[in-house]
């Protein structure tokens, strides 16, 4: 029983990690006042590019870097259109997702059916030899450790650093921030590219660790779930970690349901993460005051210095 429990927790961590990356990136983007609906597209671009790179170079690290760069490039496209050319953030984000789905399928065509070894575990000396705890906490791949460090860093950055204050003030009122001489567009570019990098890493995790292979459309809505997670977290990094692990747990239920003898068609079990997303959104959004207090006030609005 103990073994099964440990295994279950390990799968939850694997399922949650890509969500943590994609969602923490989007959280920063939204805190700067930009709504990027293209997370799904950026994740797919990251997934395919990192898999291709890892496959041809044999290096997982190179794969992660490539996935990150792919996410950044996609985000750059979005940033250029919405921030420099004033296009609608909603429409551009949708376009980014549609484009990402097509482009990743095109790039990934020759990679279908190839397997990858996955990332090596970084066993922390001594600690990883501890019974149970060692396996649970100290023998993961680098991206799992990285995700926790990243969330902590973002939490510190947003709440404790001066740059984070600048970013938040731009997200809450770009006109006031501009009047104070803050560089609205530049900060938003940085935030958007950071979001792209995170989504790209999240995608890398899917194709390098979670599956680990390239399958067309393999993110299967995780980019959208990440967007929902940001709302669930009411734009707070700490809560986001909680939400991602909750969703990780739900999404692996179907794998374990059969083992536990629950006889429900697999398709119905697979609906759970999506249905839960809707349910969670209802629970959070119904409290309008709470959303209004926490959501960045100028989210989704275009900014042009002359207006």
């Amino acid at each position: 029983m103990n073994e099964i429990l440990i295994l279950t927790i390990l799968t939850i961590i694997t399922a949650a990690t890509p969500l943590v990356y994609a969602a923490i990136g989007e959280l920063v983007v939204e805190r700067s006042g930009v709504l990027n609906l293209g997370v799904e597209g950026m994740m797919l671009a990251g997934a395919v590019c990192s898999f291709a790179t890892a496959h041809y170079t044999g290096s997982g690290m190179a794969g992660i870097v490539a996935g990150m760069l792919a996410g950044v490039l996609m985000a750059l496209l979005f940033a250029f259109l919405t921030l420099s050319l004033q296009s609608s953030q909603v429409a551009t984000g949708l376009a980014l997702t549609i484009f990402g789905v097509g482009l990743s399928a095109l790039i990934g065509q020759p990679l279908v059916g190839i397997a990858f070894d996955g990332l090596p575990s970084l066993n922390i000396p001594l600690l990883s030899n501890l019974p149970v705890v060692g396996q649970l906490l100290f023998s993961h791949d680098i991206l799992v450790y990285g995700s926790f460090i990243l969330v902590a860093a973002v939490a510190w950055f947003l709440n404790k650093s001066r740059a984070g204050l600048v970013l938040r003030s731009i997200g809450d009122s770009h006109n006031a921030a501009h009047a104070l001489g803050l560089k609205v567009i530049r900060v938003r570019y940085c935030a958007t590219l950071f979001g792209g990098a995170c989504a790209g890493i999240g995608g890398s995790y899917l194709s390098l660790v979670y599956t680990p292979m390239w399958v067309e459309n393999m993110s299967a809505g995780r980019g959208w779930i990440a967007l929902a997670l940001v709302v669930f977290a009411v734009w707070q990094p700490g809560r986001l970690l909680l939400g991602a692990y909750l969703f990780g747990g739900i999404s692996i239920l179907q794998l374990h349901a059969q083992a536990l003898g629950i006889n429900v068609p697999s398709q119905l079990m697979s609906m759970l993460p999506y249905a839960t997303t809707i349910l969670v959104l209802v629970l959070i959004s119904r409290d309008r005051g709470r959303i209004r207090r926490n959501a960045p006030a100028s989210i989704g609005q275009a900014f042009h210095p002359t207006t």
């Binding site: 609906l37 496209l77 259109l81 050319l85 004033q86 296009s87 609608s88 909603v90 429409a91 551009t92 949708l94 376009a95 980014l96 549609i98 484009f99 990402g100 789905v101 097509g102 482009l103 399928a105 095109l106 065509q109 067309e216 299967a220 809505g221 959208w224 967007l227 929902a228 709302v231 068609p265 398709q267 119905l268 697979s270 609906m271 999506y274 249905a275 997303t277 809707i278 959104l281 209802v282 959004s285 119904r286 309008r288 959303i291 042009h304 002359t306 207006t307």
Partner: protein, 353 residues
């Protein structure tokens, strides 16, 4: 230094020109893409854009593909005008297909005139039902309709997959995940013999006219436009925002549902695990490309239909992956969004100070 300067008034000329410029840029980028993929550029170009429509059959296929895009695109553009972002049309389309197919299979071997109208009615209900979830959650609980309508699309895909491999599976089908083939009474009449062009094409034209009338000639259409352009003015004018959310979503759901039925009762003729190559998502591009105007959507639907046919043709003749279609569609939308800047801004050269 190049900078943008806001125009005093939006340029009408650019409103018409922007889609054309975007299309031209997409063609250029497409040529570049073909070159990068290492295929002969002009052959690829010919296979993608010319070959599919150089026969009567090809033109009819263009109509087959354009019909669902136009039907959904018109409804979505009405919603988008009101800033209601229903992006789950794909799921609503699937539910329409399921509901319509359920009627067809229930009246299996009943050869009566009422089967097809009943199927259409059922698909309308199915699509609206699926769209009413985001509408209810938006109006009652303030939940973002983008995320809910999209999540429901994933649920719909899984629902269809379960139904065709379980409850609605063909009992004599050797366990293949397919329903029975519909009988003739449950199939859409063809309007051009020797092709697959069906009644849906006529319905699409009807939807364009109806959409245009709704937007330009009715109070409801006016309310929808005001809500999008100036929500606060709409509130002061006494237009209920919740009602507009419902109207926009039900309209989108109903039209997507019927489009889904036209697929299963038209070109497909049975229920399969996949009944649409992403028409519900492509219709979003169609709506924007058509300037959120029903007549524009008509032309945009034809262009996007060509991108599907072109992708298939390029796959057959040049062995290119079908995903090229998605790349083209995404690029077109990007270029369109980029050129749209010319409507509200003019590009000026700024002296470095």
């Amino acid at each position: 230094m190049i900078a943008l300067q806001r125009r005093a008034n939006p340029s009408q000329l650019m409103g018409y020109l922007a889609p054309l410029i975007a299309f031209a840029l997409t063609l250029l980028a497409g040529l570049l893409l073909f070159a990068l993929l290492g295929v002969p550029v002009f052959e690829a170009f010919h296979a993608f854009f010319i070959e599919p429509i150089s026969s009567l059959y090809g033109l009819a296929e263009l109509g087959v593909k354009a019909a669902p895009l136009i039907i959904i695109g018109v409804a979505l553009s009405i919603g988008f005008r009101a800033q209601v972002w229903n992006i789950g049309a794909e799921g609503q389309l699937i539910l329409g297909g399921i509901f319509g197919a359920a009627v067809a299979l229930y009246f299996y071997e009943v050869d009566a005139w009422f089967v097809l109208p009943l199927m259409i009615l059922a698909s309308l209900v199915g699509g609206m039902l699926w769209a009413s979830v985001p509408a209810l959650l938006k109006t009652r609980f303030n939940v973002n309709e983008i995320l809910t309508s999209l999540m429901l699309t994933y649920v719909a895909v899984l629902l269809l997959s379960w139904l065709v491999s379980g409850p609605m599976r063909d009992p004599d089908g050797f366990n293949f995940p397919e329903s029975r083939l519909f009988h003739d009474a449950a199939l859409l009449p063809r309007i051009l013999s020797g092709t697959r062009l069906h009644m849906g094409a006529l319905v699409a034209i009807g939807v364009v006219v109806a959409g245009w009338l709704l937007l330009s000639r009715t109070l409801l259409g006016f309310a929808l436009r005001v809500n999008g352009a100036a929500p606060r003015a709409g509130v002061h004018a006494g237009f209920s925002q919740n009602r507009l959310v419902w109207v926009a979503l039900l309209l989108g759901g109903g039209c997507a549902g019927v489009a889904g039925l036209f697929e299963v009762a038209g070109p497909i003729g049975q229920l399969l695990p996949t009944i649409s190559p992403g028409y519900g998502f492509t219709a979003i591009i169609v709506a924007f490309l058509g300037r959120l105007h029903p007549v524009g959507v008509l032309f945009a639907g034809l262009v996007m239909a060509l991108s599907y046919l072109g992708g298939e043709s390029a796959q057959i003749t040049l062995n290119l992956p079908l995903a090229v279609t998605g790349v083209f569609q995404g690029m077109l939308l990007f270029f369109l969004l980029a050129t749209d800047v010319l409507i509200n801004y003019r590009i000026i050269r700024k002296q470095a100070s």
